[in-house]
């Protein structure tokens, strides 16, 4: 099989992994060496495909042969997909050739599991080792690891990689038992805990001066959760993500809408990918990480799923109208962050400008804020919303998108037409 055919199969096999991050690595570059590569700046998206996703890394599998039978996955052993396998040298050459032409800024290498977890990890690590040691490659490397792989191999993977990740796939063991019978939530979390320990060690400030420096290790770990493959609610998904952020200090949790694959499983029928839901989960995730929201405020036991029609912050504000209006000129930073339509950067701009002036609506227009969204929730020097406006039932209706945009109803999915897939919003914020 020639390299072009292998690349077709092993890129196609890797595309369901949503992670594309190439930022957050330690600063390093190629000056003074014979190699190429640098990391440490903001990530660069070198291209975009028509699904709106960025291409920053060469994202491939070592092989798409796999012992596991995860029913959402094109590469599961029950699938009849054509199988292929790269040699480590082939991946090394592809990475360097692509990198030197500035098509990509690194490698994201994963693999189907063959023979055993350790054997598979060894193959993946060998690519990273050759890139780093034989070719002095200083670009970004993201390695997927396997929870059951030995500690020594995970340490070695982390030594060469800038980021390592283990996909949690589903937020409950029940979901895994049905759809990914080889996977286990407790073992995955245990492995994440070990990785966190190694990352913490790297950043430990209080090392004794004579203590040996810890071996180099990746600067972060991330994971991916599948949305819409099992019956988990948004509250369950966000609860799981929140636990991973706090307990294992993950850099990112990616949410991946289960989308049709060429080899459907009888255990998991295909349906339209819940792209709006995925988008709302990313918005909720942002609220958890940057806006000091708690999971229960966004998705509670009483209302476990996000409102698909409104963004979760606006939705929260409408449920908590008594909190508003908020005075832009006086309110604490934390309260400003809760105003629908105000992002972190504009909150900083407001806090900084109001030290010298009383802000008026014209100032907010100059900040390019969406006044239509803000007006019911804020007080400025020249604006006070009529209380009646805030209390009125029509306020929610005012923010709902016009009916023709709500053509996808995921609770009772109609036979999906291709136009449906095209119409929905997706992706990250």
């Amino acid at each position: 099989m020639d390299i072009n055919r292998k690349l077709e199969i092993l890129a196609d096999a890797a595309k369901y992994d949503a992670s594309c991050a190439s930022s957050g690595a330690a600063k390093k570059d190629s000056r003074g060496s014979t190699g190429v590569g640098s990391t440490g700046g903001s990530g660069i998206c070198h291209s975009y495909t028509p699904d709106g996703r960025c291409v920053s890394l060469l994202k491939v599998l070592m092989t798409n042969a796999c012992l596991y039978d995860c029913h959402y996955c094109i590469n599961r052993r029950s699938s009849n997909v054509t199988r292929a396998r790269f040699t480590p040298d082939e991946v090394v050459k592809l990475t360097l050739d692509f990198y030197k032409r500035n098509y990509i800024e690194g490698l994201f290498l994963s693999s189907g599991i063959i023979r055993s977890a350790d054997h598979t990890m060894e193959l993946v690590i060998e690519v990273a080792r050759k890139l780093r040691e034989e070719h002095h490659f200083r670009g970004y490397i993201h390695l997927k690891t396997i929870p059951e792989a030995s500690q020594a191999l995970i340490a070695l993977a982390g030594r060469y990689a800038d980021r390592i990740s283990i996909n949690i796939e589903l937020p409950t063991q029940q979901g895994l038992t049905t759809l990914a019978p080889e996977k286990n939530l407790a073992r995955t979390e245990e492995a994440m805990g070990h990785i966190r320990g190694k990352i913490d060690e790297r950043y430990a400030e209080k090392r004794k001066p004579d203590a040996p420096k810890p071996p180099p290790f990746a600067t972060g770990q991330s994971t991916q959760m599948l949305v819409g493959a099992d019956a988990s609610t948004d509250a369950t998904i966000l609860g799981c993500a929140d636990k991973l952020y706090t307990a294992h200090r993950l850099k990112r949790v990616y949410y991946s809408a289960f989308s049709p694959i060429p080899e459907p499983s009888s255990i998991l029928p295909l349906k339209a990918p819940p792209l709006i839901r995925e988008h709302r989960l990313y918005q909720a995730d942002w609220l958890l990480r940057f806006y000091d929201f708690k999971v229960e405020e966004i998705a509670s036991a009483a209302a476990p799923n996000l409102d698909l029609a409104l963004d979760p912050k606006l939705s929260w504000a409408l449920r908590n109208r008594e909190t508003f209006p908020v005075d832009i000129n006086k309110a604490a930073r934390e309260m400003l962050l809760r105003i629908p339509g105000l992002g972190v950067r504009n909150v900083e701009r407001i806090v900084s400008a109001r030290r010298y002036t009383r802000l008026r609506l014209a100032d907010l227009i100059r900040l390019r804020l969406q006044l239509k969204k803000l007006l019911p929730f804020i007080i400025t020097a020249d604006h006070h919303p009529a209380k009646v406006g805030l209390d009125s039932e029509s306020l929610r209706a005012r923010f709902l998108p016009p009916p023709e945009q709500l053509e996808l109803n995921f609770d009772t999915p109609p036979a999906p037409a291709a136009s449906d897939f095209r119409s929905v919003r997706s992706g990250e914020l």
Binding site: G52, F98, F421
Partner: protein, 295 residues
């Protein structure tokens, strides 16, 4: 009113602005214009006659950083606005001005910085190097790229390429200025026409194979792609000619998936590792059931 003619470069503006400020010249007393042919600074005899005393005037370094970036913008009003902001920050007594994103001048300067920053970022992303040969003396590979920036960003954008591609020789050609790296030194020459750069690279086909296969036809989102990769860049991207075809076939590909007969689960192969996993999973499940019974 005096007219200041400068080369369209930050350094030229800074030299002139420093002298004007030292003389206490108000922003509305100056007309700024730039000319790439301008060899030396012309600020009028009365200014040159008096020695500048700018040392006493403190300028926030945040302003200098922003000015450097805004100066790379192509808007002809930038020199006058930069001087006005400089004057307001210093002699005008508005020391806190940069904290006021709501101020018209500050906002304009920020907009220019943002446009320049985006242009630099897109240059870092969309430059495509083409292999043109190997230096017979050093053995280093030599690459050439073509890029058409919106603003005068070549000098701001190239240190990144020096760090990233130190181990190869490269030139980035643009219509107004070119940058060259030979492993030792980064240097700049005047702009060239597009025909000076190669159109293809032997690897472009393999790259297109990757692009075609990493695309997921089940979640087409054209506007998201175009907001980050506007069409103006497409003519210099080897992968862009694939876009129309990928979009056109996506509906049929998804329909094909939906019509495919579902595959039954195959039995587990005889593999020791797989067996050990299944055993572990069973004992884990038994354990957790036992625990929940107790509680």
């Amino acid at each position: 009113m005096r007219t200041i003619v400068i080369k369209p470069e930050y350094e030229a503006w800074r030299t002139a602005a420093r002298q004007l400020l030292a003389q206490g010249v108000k922003p509305d007393e100056v007309l700024w214009t730039d000319d790439p042919q301008e060899a030396s600074l012309f600020v009028g005899e009365d200014l040159l006659a008096k020695p500048p005393a700018a040392e006493a005037i403190k300028v926030p370094s945040a302003f200098m950083d922003m000015a450097k970036s805004a100066a790379a913008h192509t808007d002809s009003k930038r020199w006058a606005l930069l001087y006005r902001v400089l004057w307001r920050l210093t002699l005008g007594g508005e020391r806190h001005l940069l904290s006021m994103a709501t101020d018209r001048d500050v906002r304009q300067m920020q907009d220019w910085c943002k446009a320049v920053g985006r242009d630099i970022h897109k240059m870092h992303a969309f430059v495509r190097f083409r292999l043109v040969g190997v230096d017979s003396a050093t053995g280093r590979e030599q690459f050439v790229a073509w890029f058409e920036p919106d603003h005068r960003i070549v000098r701001l954008a190239t240190p990144f390429f020096e760090k990233r591609f130190a181990g190869m020789d490269w030139s980035i050609l643009t219509p107004y200025e070119c940058a060259h790296w030979d492993g030792q030194r980064l240097h700049f020459t005047s702009g060239v026409p597009r025909s000076s750069a190669p159109d293809e690279d032997a690897l472009d086909d393999l790259w297109r194979t990757y692009y075609r296969n990493i695309f997921n036809p089940a979640r087409v989102k054209i506007s998201a792609m175009q907001s980050e990769m506007p069409k103006k860049y497409w003519k210099n991207l080897p992968e862009a000619p694939l876009i129309a075809g990928l979009i056109a076939e996506s509906a049929g590909r998804v329909q094909g998936m939906l019509e495919t007969e579902e595959r039954p689960a195959k039995p587990a192969p005889n593999n020791a590792y797989l067996k050990s996993l299944h055993d572990m999973n069973q004992s884990d499940t038994a354990e957790s059931t036992g625990e929940s019974d107790k509680s």
